[in-house]
Structure formats: C-alpha cells, structure tokens
Amino acid sequence: MKRKQRADAPGVFSEIVKLMLVLMLLLCSGVEAKASSNLISQQTERTISGVVTDENGDPVIGATIVVKGTAIGTTTDLDGIFTLKIPTDVKTLQVSYVGMVTTELTIGDNAQYNVVMEPDAVLMEDLVVIGYGTRSKKDVSIAVSSVKSDELNERPSAFNIMEGIAGKVAGVTNISMSGRPGGASSLRVRGMGSINAGKDPIYVLDGVVGVDPNIINSANVESIDILKDAAATAMYGAQGSNGVVLITTKKGKKGKGSITYDGKMGFGFMNRKLDMLNADEYMEVQRRSYAYSGQTMPHLTTADEKLFYYAKDPSGNYQYDDYGLLIASPRYNTNWQEEMTRTAISNDHIVSFASGNDDTSVYSSVAYQNYEGIIKSSEYERISGTVNVNSKIKDWLLVQLVGTVGSQKGNNNDMENSFGQGAIRNMIEMPPIVPVKYEDGTWGRKGDYKYSEEGENPLLLLQDRRDEWKSNFSVFSLNTTLDITRKLTLTVQGDYQQNNRKGMSYAKAGLLDVSENNGGYADISNYDSQKLTNENYFTYTDAYFNGQLSSNFVLGASWYYTHSESSSSGSEQYFDDSFDYHNLSAGTTWHEPRSGMNQNTMNSYYFRMNHSFRDRYLLGATFRADGASNFGMNNKYGYFPSLSAGWRISEESFFQPLLTFVSQAKLRTSYGIVGNASIPNYRTISQYGNGSTIFNKELTSYVTLSNLGNKDLKWESSHQFNIGLDLSFFNNRLEVIMDYYTKSTRDLLFEKQIPITTGYATTWTNLGEIRNDGFEATITSRNIHTNDFLWVTDLVYSTNKVKTIDINGETIQTGNNTIAREGIDWASYYVYKRLGTWGLAEVEEAAKYGKRPGDIKYEDVNGDYKIDEEDRQLMGNGRPKGNLSMVNTFKYKGFSLMVDLNYVYGFKIMSITHSMGENRPLYSNSVNDILNAWTPENQNTMVAALRLPSDPFFGENEKDSHMLHKGDFLRIRNVGLSYSLSPNVLNWLGEVNNFSLGVSVENLALFTKYPGFDTEMGTFNTDNGQSIDFYSYPRPTTVTANMKITF
C-alpha cells in the first residue's frame, strides 16, 4: 500500500477511518465476488471497468460500486480501478464513498468509465471524535456535540477553550467565576452531577485523558467534541459522569507548507461600576447614624483638618453654627473604583507552521498571550509551544506525537473574595472622604475617620504586595496504530503530563494586617505533579450481510498513575524589602515548612461496539470496568455499561414523500451508567492530622484524629437516559437537534455530617440520589444564502433542573445558606424573609422580638416570637433554569458580521457585596441604597435605621431574602466584524494565501436588574459558590482587533 492517498484528506482521523473502511471493503469484496459468481450462471452478463478519481484526479481507493437495487457490486482497488460483471440490462451503477457525494453512473455501451467524485461538504464536516476512535455523524446514536476551530475562535477575546465554547453547545455552560484574567473558569455538562465529588468534565487532548484545559491555546485546536449522554461518556466510565470534552489538535496538511500568524490585541474597560456613596452622601450617612444615637460627629467638635475643610474667619478662627458645632465639608471625594481600575491591554499572538507529504504531516506553533486585568497590576501570561507530528512509518504503522510545553504566570495581588485585606473589597469599602494620598504624601487608610474599620489602602496593597504564581507544564503523547490485519488495528498510547506550580508572595513592611508587624512577609509554595497514562486498544471493523451491516468493535485497557508533591515555606522580619520573595533566609522569623504527597492510580478495561444496519438502524453498546485507588478495599472496581440506538427515519421508503421538506431525520435514544471518582485520596483510611504545638515556648509535635475512614466507600454512579431527534429541513437549510435527558446520580459520594460526639464532623459515604433533568435544542438556520450574501442564525438553548430525590430524609447544609431536602431543588437558598423594618406604630410587637422601630423585621413563620431556624424559608437557587444563546452571522463578500447574544434566566444571586454595602455604614463606604434607610419619615423601607456600632443591632446581617436578587440577564456577548481579502487580491499578492482583519467587542452590554458588577460570578470555588457575589472581580468590556495572515 504505497500508493498515493487522496490529496486533500482533511485529517488523519478521517484517514484512519477511510483506511479501515478500505480494509473492510477489500475483505467484503471477496465475499461479494463469491456472491456474484452465483449470479453469473443465471443471467447474461457483460464486464465493465473504470477508474474512480476525486476532483484532483487522485484515485479513490475502496469506493463501492453497486448495481442499483441489487447486491451486485465491487470496490475500487488501490489505483481506483474497478472491474465488475453486470447483467446486460443494467443501466445504472451507484458509486459511493465516505465523505463523497454518491453519484450514479449511467451505463452505455462502453466498457470503460471514468467517475469523478466530489467531496460532500456536509458529511466531511460531520466526522465526530467519540473517544477511542471517530465516527461519521450520521452513524452516531449518542449525544455528542462538536465545535470546530472557526467557531471556537469566533470571539477573539475568549480567554481559553472553556470561554470559547460558551454558548456554542446546548447543555454545556461555561461557569466563569470572575472577570479576572486567568480566573477560575470551567464547564458544566448537563447540570450538576455530584455533591461533594468533582463536577468538572474530563478533558481529553488527542487521547490524553485528564488534561488541564487551561494549558491549551484554542488557536491550536482543530475541533472539540463534547460527549454528553451516558452512552457516549460510558467509554470513559468512572471519569465520565460529568461529561467528556475531547480536544483534537490541528494537523499539518499534505501539500505546500503554510505559515500562519494570528494576532489579537485588546483593550478592556470597566463597564459597570457599583453605585457607591460619594463624599457628601457618605457624610450624610454619618450624620444620620450619630443623630439616631443622639451623638455628634466627632469632627464637628474637634477639628480634623486632615479630612475636612472648616469655615474660618479671616483671622483663621473656626466658625461655629447655631448648635455650637464646627462647620465642615469633606476635603476629598475619592472615587475608588476609578482609582483602582485601568484600561487593560491584552496581547495574544500565535505563529503556526504546517506541512505534510505522503507519509508525514507536521503542525507546530508557538504562542504568547498576555492579559492585563482591569484592576491595576493584575495580569496573566502564557507562553506555549505545540507540535503534532503524524507519520506513517510503515504500511502498517502510524505514529502520532503530540506535545505541548509552556508556562503560565499571573499576579493575584488584588485578591478577590478576601476575608483579609483584599484589594477589591477595600476598593469597594474605602470611604470616599479618604484620599489615595494625603498632601504630605502619606497613604490614606480606611480607618482614618472615627469608627471606620481598619483597612489598608487598596492601591498600596497593589503596589506593595505581590501574590504571584507560575506554572510550567508539558504534555507529551506518543500514539502508535498498528494494522494487525486489514480489519484489526491495535493502538498503543503512552502519555506523560507534568505540571510544576509555584506560588510566591511578598508583602513589603508596613501593610496593615499583612506585614505591619512582620517587617516584610514572604511565602513560597511549590506543587509538582506528574501523570503517566497508558492506553491500549484493539479496533476491529467489519461488514456483514453484503455490506448492509457495518460494525466496529473496540476492546482495550488503560492504566493511570498520578503523583504529586507539594512544599511551602516562608519567612518574615526582613531588614530590607529589596529581596522580594527571592531570599527567604534574609528574614529572621521562619514560617513553618510544609510538605505533602498524593498518589492516585486507576486501571480500566473497556469494550465498545457500534453497528449500522442498512444505513438506518444504529446500535451501540459499551462496557467499562474501572478500578481506582481512592476507593475502599471492598469496592475498588466499578462497572459501567451503556446502550444506544438510532433510527435514520429519512432513509426509510415511507419517508420519501417528506424528503423535499425534511431532508434528514434521525431518532436517537440511549441509556447508560457512568461513574465519578473525583474525591480526595485516602478517604477510606482513618487518619491522624499533625502539627506543632507549644509547651513552655517550645514547639512540640502532636497528632489528632482527623478523618474517620470508610472502608466500604464505593463508586458514585450516574444513570442517564437520553432521547434525541436530529432534523434538517429544506435541503439542510435548517437544522434542528433536540435532546431530552434525565440523569440520576446514585450512591452519591458525600461528605456526610455526623454528630460531633463521634469526635468527627463528617465522614465520606455513599448517599441517596439527585436528579438532573434537562432539554437541549440547537437550531442552525441559513436564512439567506446567495452567492454574495449569507445570513446564518444559530440558536442554542438548554434547561436544567437539579432535584434532590433521596437523602435519607435528612436536610443537608450545602453551604452559603443553602440546603438540600428531598423533593426540592438542590442547594436552595434557605433564609429568613425580610418583611421590611419595624414602624413607629409597632413598638409593642417589635419589643417581643427585642427590637425597636427602625430595626429589621423578619417574617416569624411559626409565630413563636423567636426568629430562629424554623423561620427560614426556601427562596430559589443560584443555578439558571435556562440559557439561550443566539448568534447571527452575516457575510457579504469578504465581510463578516457576528452578533452573539446570551439570555440566561431563572436564578437568584446572593449578593454579600451589596448587603454588606447596606449594613456596615460607619465601618465602610456603602451602596447608594443605604440612603433609603429607615427614618421616622421613611418607614416603608428594607434598610434598617442608621446607627452607631455600639447599638446591639448595628450591622445586623442575618442571611435573608433581601440579599437575594433576580439574576436574569441579557448580554450582548460579542459583536464582531471581520474582513477577508478576496482570492483575486490574494493572487495579486502572491505568497499570501489568506488575509483577514477584524475587530470585535466582547461583553458589549449587560441588561439586568442585578446591582453588582456582573451576573456571572461566583465565590470560593466553582463547586458551590456559583451566584454568590462576595467582592467578585468586575468583568471588563473588551475591544479586540485581530489580524490573521497565512503564507
């Protein structure tokens, strides 16, 4: 088989499939030859021959030639030549080949025919990666969605593949926790599949299982295929329950080599600001607080020249008002949000090289990305290089080497979500009457006015504190595919992943609460992980019943080994700040050194078969067994089967009348069980925690019981049923894909609360059931399609609901004042209902609760005159019910305009930021709503009367309904305009094959009633902090210009 392959093969994956098909057909042809020989005796025959070529004149190997309506047929040989004996009365032959338009050949008297086949654009695109192989989309009976390179990179400011996918795939949502560059971002496939175990899908890069998606530059990605239903993900068994994201790296193409430069430069602005008080409003709040408590503001009795201007007579004596108080006005009116933010510049450049010949193709690239955050001094940088080499070393041996190396780094000194001195929180809370710097050059601090809480100047924090991290990463994968027989191949893949992450921080001496008493404070931490994986699988492809049934089998085994080590140390009391964090021994007080080690192993066996009968009945089944080290000795292995079926109704004869209207119709259904093993290691073993304690000023080691092991801990399994319908209308002008699923996760890996009398607060156990139900629809409509003008609308819609089905009748605290109970939505807010404030007419009633007019009034559900646990009420949750994306693309000649809208509804945001802005009036600056606080004249309000901190109900902050805000929003996610030079101009330019320019605006506008920076944010972590706003990082509006040129 040294002959030329087809010249324009789109990629090695499809080549492999074709290769397998050829092998299969060659084999089949033997069978069919026998069959046809039986026919010879009965009919008059003639022999015809011919050559089948593609549009480039290259032979098409293995094309099927059949006499229409019969089983008589053959396949082309390695030169594309076929010879066939046919009955003399045959007038028409059908020539077909995967990826080509099936053509009919009218037979005349000639014995020689030349057939030129044309590629089928629609089908070519529709080859999907399904894990351990690929499959033609039409033969797929599982729920899998693909995102191609162009779509993924449609929004140039998308920061990583997770953001690039946002809005492209129904049922897949991007949870972006902040607007910070490099901030936590992850994907959720079909809701939330677990409680305490991991919720992230597994990312597979060119077959490498469990890759960190943050290291992947989306410009290197050829396609992303997301496996959604259990029949698809069951191939990944224990790692599949949260969905599988298969990423395929670009490959070199056969032919002339190409060099592509793709560059983007962006400018980010702060679009939405919080409505905070200005200096005058701030003083009004102070005045009312002092008045309520019958006191006078201190700066009116003792002059505070630092912060206030005073009325003075010409000789410099203070003037007093009628009450004998000084007359003062604030000296400064600082807008801290303006002071802290900037225009953030981002750079993203990649140069790639691609080439290929008959046996080998190479793709390589180097990329540099640097994103500034809109909060000053926060940034993220990534440098990476990628190589993808495919080589057919022998006829029977194909080798693929994929490698990515690089490093990333970031500066997080802004510290969102901070309980300590966080720059973002301080930015919001700094009193406007305090300046960034006083006239004498000293920095303003939060506590400069009486009662204000102590807090460091956020700009000084940004300047004097560094909190950096960097990581060096590499992924290497060597994949060999051997043809054992023509039908059977063996794939052996070895992967190596490595990540060294280092965290470094230094705070210069003198930062309040950070390094004020430490004289410089440095910490360094190291984390080093290695992952080795080995995948081995056989693929067998065959056809039966005269090619009516085509089948594919996969059988394999995998080994996974992960090992990580960590260490940290630090020191303080530096005599000089110039060492930064580079010389820990320069500090005189040393921080406790720490280190750790973690190891995890997994071992899996899997089997899959797919059948397609008469091109219309599809059947698939998988089975996987996984063993994982982090489960109990009694339950190491879990077993995950699945079954799927599809019916291409449009192939049926009864469907014929409809074909003019409905061009394709396929019904799919599947059921399967997948698992989840993402729990911490060593939970099945009882543990002593250790540390050092003090006896008479000396450190001494100690141990205390820290974990109660559960030896019976076993797999969490997720049972998913899926039914889907793929339709296309009007000759594929309108395509509709719909899916309904119900996913029930049982034996949930759950960190169960146990009475503390046991000595432990929790233990890991398997518990009950939660259920995700959802509906997904993807509609692509080519509204207008003329030679010059194209208008395409893509609609992606999904819903999801998580219900708690069985948790032993218990109530589970799911964190952040949310609970789970059987029959209600998972993690529903469970808080008091704020009715308003007690009025002057309600003095007696209020007193029964120990309150007075002006204090907050909660609903006393059981009327026992106590506001306690029994008065909490369910108040919705933080997960959107539905998510709709609409992308309209208009193309006119070389111009392309894209408008990407996103509408999300049905969720509530718990804004700690806003409620803290309402109940800490003297400690901090407040949100504008506080001016609506209770007064005798304004009793119908939600905001308590302003008072001094010594009041028992000052700052009352019970979690209540007033903290919850409707989160519904419509975002103009992106508007982009681009222009590509026409082929004529390119010809004139000579070497340039492609040139395009574009400009786009990301996050152009957000329409919402929510008063915070953004509706998409979260706190603490992506697992349970979604829609909790705790001083989250503002999301910028970014204008990006991009240029792409290919030589």
């Binding site: 054992i484 609460d513 081995n536 190491k636 290691n681 008479n696």
Partner: protein
C-alpha cells in the same frame, strides 16, 4: 516482517490488557499516620497526648469578626462586661438578652471542641492500655494516662457545666453505624469526671506537684479536682457538706504542698509563666501560636495615638463602670494599670494617651505592644482561685461561716494583696469569699461558672451577693431565669442526633 511485528504486538497487548495487579490500586499514604496502626512506641503516645492540649486553647478561636473569641462569649454570659464595637453577628448579642439560640455559633464551638478532645482521649486510653509490654516505660505510661484522664474529665466538666445532660462517650468511634448516643444524667457525668480526676491523681501521686513544662501536673489535677468537687457540692447536684469537705481536703492537699504562691504584685500575673501562682495555662508563643487577647481588648474606637503595635482590632469586651465601682475603696485591683486602665503610654513614648474609657488591663502584654505579636500564656487556673475555693468550701461545710485557720489564711492571702492595710478576719462567710472571687477572677472565664454553681450574683450597685435567679446584671436586657443557666444543644447536633432533647 509485518506479520512478526503484528504477532509480537498482539501478544504484548494481550498480556498488558489481561494483567491486573491489586497492588497497583493500593493506597500508600506517606503524609499521615493511621490510628489503626499506632501506639507502637513512646514517642507516638507523646504526640497523641500533645494533641489533646490543642483543644484546650480553642477558647482563643474566633470567627472573622474581631474580638469574637469563645473566651469573650463566656464573659458576656454574666453581664458585667460590655462590648464597644459592633458584634457582626447576633451571637454575642444573644448573651446579653439571655436568649441564646441553638444556631448560635458559640453553642456549637464549645460542644465541638469538647467532643473532639474527648474522642482523642478515648482513643489514647484504649491505645495505651493495648500497648505491648516493653514498648513504653511504666513512668511514661502513668504520666500520659494521667494527663489523658485529666483532660477527658476537664472537657466533660466544661460540657456538663455549659449544657447539663450530655452524651457520655467513653470508647473510641469505630464506624458510623450508631452515632445517635443517648444523654446521660448530670449525676452520671460528674461521677465519671470525679473518677477520671481521681484516676489521674492516683497515677500522678509520685510525681512532682509542679514543673515548668506547661503540661498538666499533679498540682493541676488536684486543683481542678477540687473545683469539680466544689461544683458537685453546689448546683445543680447539691451534694452538700460531704462534697464541700471533699473539695476542701482536695484543695488543702495543694495548699499543704507549699509549691504554689500568690505573687506579690498583679504585674507578675502578666509576666511570669508556668511558675509561682500559675497552676495551669494555655501555652502560647508569639510567632507560632499567638494570643489574640491583647489585641482584642485594646480600646475601641482606637485612641488618637497608638498605644500598641498590635492591629487595632480592640473593643471585644470591657468592664462596666458599675462592676468596677463595686471594688472596695483602696482596693489595689482598681488602681490604674493593675486590672483595668484608662490611659497608657503612647507607643512612641510621647506621653500618656487617654483611652476614652475604662478597659481591661489583665491581658496587657508589653511585648505585644512593642512588637505587635502576643505570645502570652492564658491562665486557666491560678493559686488565688484555689485558695478562694478552699475558703469557700470550708465556709460552706461549716454552715456558711468558718473560723478554720487554714481557710482564713487562704482567703486572707488573696485579700491582703488587694487591701494590704486590712487586718486578718477571725471568721469568713461564704458571701465574703464569693465577692472576692468576683473581684479577683473577673474576666478570667471563671465568673460564669461560679454563678451557675452557686446561683449567686454580685449586685452591681450594692456590691453584695444576691440570688442569681431574678437578678439583672448591668449589660443584660433581662433578669436571669432557670432557663438562662444552660446553653441549648447546638442545632447541628440536634438535627443529627434526635436524643438531644431537653424536657
């Protein structure tokens, strides 16, 4: 050639696929020890016993609100102290209104600390008892067992005083098959505490009364045991004279040992550690295990000029003027910078700074004021407390008044340090001793427990002892009732164990 390679690869692949080794999936942790394979040598026991002490200092723990240490909560229960800064949550405010909800975080904290410590004690007792001959010396075994028994008794003592009937759990948890443990009666719990203390005392009988290690000594055990017996004699068990006598005898053993003294000056209480008057204290150290009290008790709002380099997160609690005024005229304890202060020298030595109010000076740490970090120990038990217990027990045993020379000497030792000019009384009454306890041990986490076991309060106007029930202290918004004597069971625990019900 191809065939050969194919066949070889076939074989290799099949071998790989069919190979499975259990050891590949076995976990081999290197970063922690497994309690199931522990108690192999003396050092392991030492580390485990040290672990129990880490729960003793939990009263220093707080949430994010400045000055919200568990220690502070108990000082709001009695109502003689007030808070200068906002509370952040209602948890501290509830102590003022005596309406403590079951979701109050302090209610959970005390419970949690005690039971975590007790589980460690149970596991250690079982572990040591199961050790093989020769793996630990008899002396070490006795010492560690004694410390463990003592600490288990101590944590149950805290639990029963705060919550009344609680689950009495004396064996380690093996699995979670039965976690809903029933309540034991107050009587049964005290019987166990008494037994644990006795056990600890016997194991330590031949050991030194004191040492400077900061660990529990024979002196600690006997002194705490005296407190247990005194409490058993009073409320709620009211075991009466027999136990007052037991308490007196136990305290007298410590007194007779002659190993402890009352410091000459109150200043030494802030500077001398693990010796002299100090019987037992939480061990602290500035860099690794700081003490938050110096900073928490600073003046709030912060004075114009800083008096301490510690972060200005003060205002946690201070003495009320009314309580302060009950100290007798001429009492040294009311002098500036003995127990309380209103001004302090500026950090930059530029002169005295007016604090704008009266603040607690007991936990002033000059070192912390200078370097910003406090490493001061926190005293849990001191000799003055023991002397007053001894006097009180005897006065009770003798029917309310005693002229026992030792009891009078004990009382007078404490009294004359405050009022050096006062002459030795010929007899003392229970009320006299109780008054003295209020003044001497104010804001040392003793007052609330004294009130509960005696059902007596110090009248903040008259300075005389009155019945606690029905009396309203200066910062409380309601008088004490029977219901105010115990904390509710924590909501979390009630949800998980339906046995936690109070009649």
């Amino acid at each position: 050639m191809k065939k050969i390679y194919s066949n070889i690869s076939w074989l290799i692949a099949l071998t790989v696929i069919l190979t499975s080794c259990d050891s590949f999936l076995e976990e081999k942790p290197m970063t922690f020890l497994n309690p199931d394979q522990y108690y192999q040598n003396e050092k392991q026991v030492f580390a485990a016993v040290n672990g129990i002490y880490t729960y003793v200092d939990d009263i220093m723990d707080s949430d994010i609100e400045p000055g919200s240490q568990s220690f502070i909560f108990l000082e709001f229960m009695h109502g003689y102290g007030e808070r200068m800064r906002g509370s952040g949550t209602q948890d501290l405010t509830q102590a003022n209104s005596l309406l403590i909800a079951d979701n109050n975080s302090y209610v959970q904290r005390f419970w949690e600390t005690a039971y975590r410590a007790i589980e460690n004690c149970n596991s250690i007792i079982e572990g040591i008892e199961g050790m093989e001959e020769g793996t630990i010396s008899e002396a070490k075994k006795n010492q560690y067992l004694a410390e463990t028994y003592f600490l288990r008794g101590y944590f149950y003592f805290n639990l029963v005083r705060l919550y009344g009937p609680v689950p009495l759990k004396l064996t380690p948890t093996r699995d979670v098959s039965n976690t809903a443990i029933e309540l034991s009666s107050i009587e049964d719990i005290y019987t166990r505490i008494d037994a644990d203390m006795t056990n600890a005392g016997e194991l330590m009988e031949d050991m030194d009364w004191t040492n400077s290690s900061g660990r529990v000594t024979k002196g600690t055990v006997k002194s705490m045991h005296a407190k247990v017996l005194l409490t058993m004699a009073g409320y709620p068990l009211q075991k009466g004279i027999e136990y007052y006598n037991k308490a007196y005898n136990m305290a007298k053993q410590v007194y007779n040992s002659g190993k402890y003294i009352c410091f000459d000056s109150y200043g030494e209480l802030r500077t001398v550690e693990n010796a002299g008057e100090i019987i037992w204290s939480i061990q602290r150290e500035a860099d690794n295990a700081g003490n938050p009290l110096h900073s928490s008790l600073l003046a709030y709002p912060a004075p114009v000029k800083a008096v301490s380099a510690s972060a200005a997160y003060g205002g946690a609690i201070t003495v009320t003027r009314m309580f302060f005024d009950t100290y007798p005229e001429g009492d040294k304890r009311r002098e500036e910078r003995e127990f309380y202060y209103t001004e302090q020298e500026a950090l930059d030595k530029s002169g005295m700074v007016d604090l704008g109010g009266l603040y607690i000076y007991k936990y002033w740490d000059q070192n912390a004021a200078e370097i910003g970090k406090s490493g001061a120990n926190f005293t849990l038990l001191r000799y003055a407390d023991l002397l007053l217990m001894m006097a009180e027990a005897k006065a009770q045993a003798d029917g309310g008044t005693t002229s026992d020379a030792d009891a009078i000497e004990a009382y007078y030792t404490v009294r004359k340090r405050a009022l050096p000019l006062e002459t030795r009384p010929t007899s003392i009454t229970v009320d006299k001793v109780l008054q003295e306890r209020f003044w001497e041990l104010a804001f040392e986490n003793q007052t609330w427990f004294d009130m509960v076991r005696t059902r007596k309060a110090l009248h903040a106007v008259t300075g005389q002892m009155v019945n606690m029930i029905g009396y309203q202290t200066p910062t409380h918004t309601a008088p004490f009732t029977e219901a105010s004597l115990l904390l509710p069971y924590p909501i979390r625990e009630k949800r998980l164990n339906s046995n936690l019900k109070r009649d």
